[in-house]
């Protein structure tokens, strides 16, 4: 049967906050836009974001975008690109107002303005008192935002391909992306979507680790598609472990709990963050708090029969505050930890949460294909959100900056795509060789016979990543990890599906996802092995100091030969003075 083809002005892969905010701009401008999502849009993982979105609205305490910018640069451990960070922090303000106008049910202050709470790493006046910058809809901010954006896209008549799995990008000889080969999960039929522009908004890849706050769908599909298209990923060694996952399970307990006054204690009841971050204490940056927890547990001060976690104390807060501001957390704690936080502390331990690295883009969301500091972008290809790396988070992301990143850069990519399509109104000729190589990769899973199962290899892979690329990383352990992941990549050839039927074959999609995860996992392991310093979330006891002379640069990883190159940090903002690297204390 001939491969079915459809044409659009723009193809958006992913229907989380970035994809939907881009789609909304494009549909409002009457472009023909296709949004492909492997799940119904409101199931995208943006829905799980709890605490909120940062914007210097100054509704609760004095604030301005320049302070937000300082905190973000410092939080990034000076690896973030300051032009992109300035842009994001300035745009945060109109972006949040636009969301509110679109209907997001933000919590409110007595004067009717949007409620804002304190979050980690936030300060007034460039490192002064705690700021309150995180705009929140109770502790369900991501849900409120994602549903609102989906609703507005229904109004704007965006064309959705729900439950379609994007397999590979299609490109021509010049490397220009022409669209993607996707799979209709319900029927098992492939579909070729040709587009003048493509936006990757496929989200994160937390499933590469065994214990994670990320959903089953967060398998780094867009990142892996980029690698297979011969393009690099940037700064993949920087993976954020959120300090407070429910111990042993990984579900997230928002930083907002500490923002509302909760704090961490060890088995002696000691408020240990006072030792590690005397000023910010429990609201120090996430990398700092996660390391402190692991250090406490390794020092024998963990809680529980295995002494393998610490406690998050909330029960000193007013029950009214918990009911009003943290209702979802109370519910999750009861269900998954068997604890009512109004009465008892919540057992927590760091959980794999967010990847700072991703598809390198400039501050317009355009994909940058080389390590050349003055290099040009790849025309017509965009990336936004957790799959991308602008880079606004550098070596460590601040809480509340993730929703912000997806919304600002999704919206911006949408606006830039409108201009691009106006200037480049025609489709480029299809490259049949690229289509057939994508089809071959896809059809290879039709192979029958005995082999390893998808779930077997997935288990081995995720355990390996957890053991060899976690919170603390040393040379030998990581070297071994890289070798193990390479061996796992080789084993992929021996994986066989047990299910070869067409209809809603999750065995097949999970095999494609596993292939993606392994490529992305290797980019993390290889990039981490070679960065011989400690910066942000990348913590090496064998190189405990940040080394700006040698390492204030971005890592670029290519799949072919596991090649690494490096690229300078853009330290020059747009309109203000650069924040030079300083020692990072909280």
């Amino acid at each position: 049967m001939a491969l079915e083809k459809q044409r659009f002005d723009t193809l958006i892969l992913g229907a989380g906050g970035a994809g939907l905010n881009a789609a909304l701009q494009l549909a409002n401008a009457n472009l023909k836009v296709a949004v492909v999502s492997k799940v119904f849009p409101t199931r995208s993982h943006t829905v799980a974001a709890q605490g909120g979105v940062n914007a210097a609205l100054a509704n609760v305490l004095p604030d301005n975008w320049h302070w937000h910018m300082f905190d973000t640069v410092k939080g990034s451990d000076y690896l973030g690109d300051q032009d992109a960070i300035e842009y994001m922090c300035r745009e945060a303000i109109p972006t949040v107002y636009e969301l509110e106008h679109n209907g997001v049910p933000f919590s409110r202050l007595a004067n009717g303005k949007i409620y804002q709470r304190a979050f980690g790493g936030q300060s007034q006046n460039f490192g002064g008192d705690q700021a309150a910058r995180t705009c929140a809809a109770a502790d369900r901010t991501g849900h409120a935002i994602l549903h609102t954006l989906y609703q507005q896209n229904i109004r704007a008549k965006t064309h959705f391909f729900d439950e379609y799995f994007a397999a590979d990008l299609i490109r021509d000889q010049e490397g220009i992306i022409l669209g993607a080969l996707v799979l209709d999960i319900a029927t098992g039929e492939p579909l070729l979507i040709e587009a003048k522009t493509t936006l990757l908004a496929t989200g994160g890849c937390g499933q590469v680790f065994r214990t994670t706050s990320n959903a089953h769908i967060n398998t780094g599909d867009g990142k892996a598609m980029i690698l297979r298209a011969g393009l690099p990923l940037m700064d993949m060694e920087f993976f954020q472990f959120h300090p407070t996952g429910i111990a042993g399970k990984g579900m997230l307990i928002t930083e907002g709990v500490r923002g509302e006054g909760g704090y961490l204690i060890n088995k002696d009841g000691e408020r240990f963050m006072e030792k590690y971050a005397p000023n910010a204490k429990d609201l120090a940056s996430r990398d700092v708090v996660a390391r402190s927890i692991v250090t406490e547990v390794r020092g024998g001060r963990g809680c529980g029969p295995e002494a393998d976690h610490v406690m998050l104390k909330v029960n000193h807060l007013d029950e009214e505050v918990i009911a009003k501001r943290l209702p979802g957390i109370r519910e999750s704690s009861k269900i998954f930890a068997g604890v009512d936080p109004v009465k008892d502390p919540i057992p927590v331990f760091p959980t794999a949460h967010y990847v700072m690295g991703g598809i390198p883009t400039d501050r317009f969301g355009r994909v940058m294909p080389t390590s050349d500091d003055d290099g040009d972008h790849l025309p017509g290809l965009y990336a936004a959100g957790e799959c991308a790396c602008a880079s606004v988070h550098g070596a460590n992301r601040l809480g509340g900056n993730s929703l912000l990143d997806i919304l600002v850069f999704g919206r911006l990519a949408g606006k830039n795509i409108i201009d691009y399509v106006r200037d480049n109104p025609s489709h480029r000729p299809l490259d049949e060789a690229s289509v057939s190589s994508a089809m071959d990769r896809f059809n290879k899973w039709d192979a029958k016979g005995d082999g390893i199962t998808v779930s077997e290899l997935r288990k081995e892979f995720r355990k390996t990543m957890e053991d060899h690329a976690g919170v603390f990383r040393v040379e030998d352990m990581m070297q071994e990890g890289v070798e193990k992941v390479r061996a796992i990549r080789d084993k992929l050839a021996d994986v066989r599906l047990t299910d070869h039927s067409k209809t809603f074959n999750t065995n097949r999609t999970e095999a494609l996802e596993l292939e993606n995860m392994i490529d992305v996992g290797l980019s993390i392991a290889v990039s981490a092995l070679h960065r011989k310093e400690s910066r942000g979330a990348h913590s090496r006891p064998d190189y405990p100091k940040r080394d700006d002379a040698e390492w204030m640069k971005h890592t670029l990883y290519w799949r072919e030969g596991d090649k690494l190159e490096y690229k300078g940090v853009r330290s020059q903002p747009l309109t203000v003075e650069s924040f030079p690297p300083k020692e990072r204390v909280y």
């Binding site: 799940v39 119904f40 409101t42 199931r43 993982h45 829905v47 799980a48 609205l57 949040v96 107002y97 509110e100 106008h101 679109n102 209907g103 049910p105 933000f106 919590s107 409110r108 202050l109 007595a110 004067n111 009717g112 303005k113 949007i114 809809a137 369900r140 849900h143 409120a144 549903h147 609102t148 609703q151 507005q152 229904i154 109004r155 319900a186 959903a215 089953h216 769908i217 399970k249 579900m251 997230l252 979802g328 519910e331 999750s332 269900i335 998954f336 068997g338 199962t453 998808v454 779930s455 599906l497 047990t498 299910d499 039927s501 067409k502 209809t503 809603f504 074959n505 999750t506 065995n507």
Partner: protein, 230 residues
């Protein structure tokens, strides 16, 4: 623990059947964990799931006769043998996966987005905490479908009766002090089917995994209509 699971693959099966599985349980295990364990035993077993914490709304199933979200249903609360079936009243795509397109179509019919007629202010539209409180119990819906697919009125008239989920969403916008299309919204719910097929059987309230109350929302819409009529 013993499970009996609904199986149907249109590519290979003439008709659906129940299949027995046994899963080794551990403390704190949820139904989703058990379904994943079953999938490890038989990779052809198919169900939707994603976030694992009750917010994405993917893994609604019918378990021991009630609609529930698998990821937040503790096995300890279930009677053995646990019988797991797809949502009732929806066409089965495969195993536990049902076709939800009618459910989504009904949602879209209530114009589920904020409508403002006045120009937008430069900053946020102001809303008092009391006005915002009116959205609690309405905006948290995760569109899992547990309610509508447990509703007999929706089973009989899935194309004409909007169903509890869509009506809860209609109420969410009627209750929003920022929305300026109440009249149109109320008019569009007139007629014998769209809303008035609700016979307050209240299965939806029982089924909602987020503790929301669509029947109350429907009653609230009716009360506004009545007030407007007088």
């Amino acid at each position: 623990m013993k499970f009996s699971v609904y199986r149907y693959n249109p590519d290979t099966d003439n008709e659906p059947y129940m299949q027995a599985f046994e899963v080794e349980t551990r403390q704190g295990m949820m139904l989703r964990d058990a379904l994943m364990a079953i999938q490890e035993q038989d990779e052809s077993f198919t169900f939707r799931h994603s976030c694992g914490e009750g917010v994405c709304g993917s893994d609604g199933v019918n378990v021991n006769g009630s609609n529930k979200l698998a990821c937040i249903t503790p096995l300890s609360e279930l009677k053995e043998t646990v019988e797991v079936r797809p949502f009732p009243g929806r066409p089965v795509v495969r195993d536990l996966v049902v076709d939800m397109s009618q459910f989504y179509a009904q949602y879209k019919k209530v114009d589920p987005w904020l409508i403002r007629k006045e120009p937008m202010p430069e900053q946020e539209i102001l809303q008092s905490p009391e006005e915002r409180d009116k959205l609690d119990g309405l905006y948290e819906c995760i569109m899992c479908g547990c309610c509508s697919t447990s509703c007999p009125s929706f089973w009989w008239n899935p194309d004409k009766f909007l169903g509890p989920q869509a009506l809860l969403s209609a109420c969410r916008f009627l209750a929003d002090s920022r929305d300026q299309a109440s009249e149109e919204r109320l008019n569009s719910l007139e007629g014998p089917y769209k809303m008035f097929r609700c016979h307050t059987i209240m299965n939806c309230v029982e089924a909602c995994p987020k503790g929301l109350n669509p029947t109350k929302a429907i009653g609230h819409i009716k009360a506004i209509m009545l007030k407007d009529a007088i």
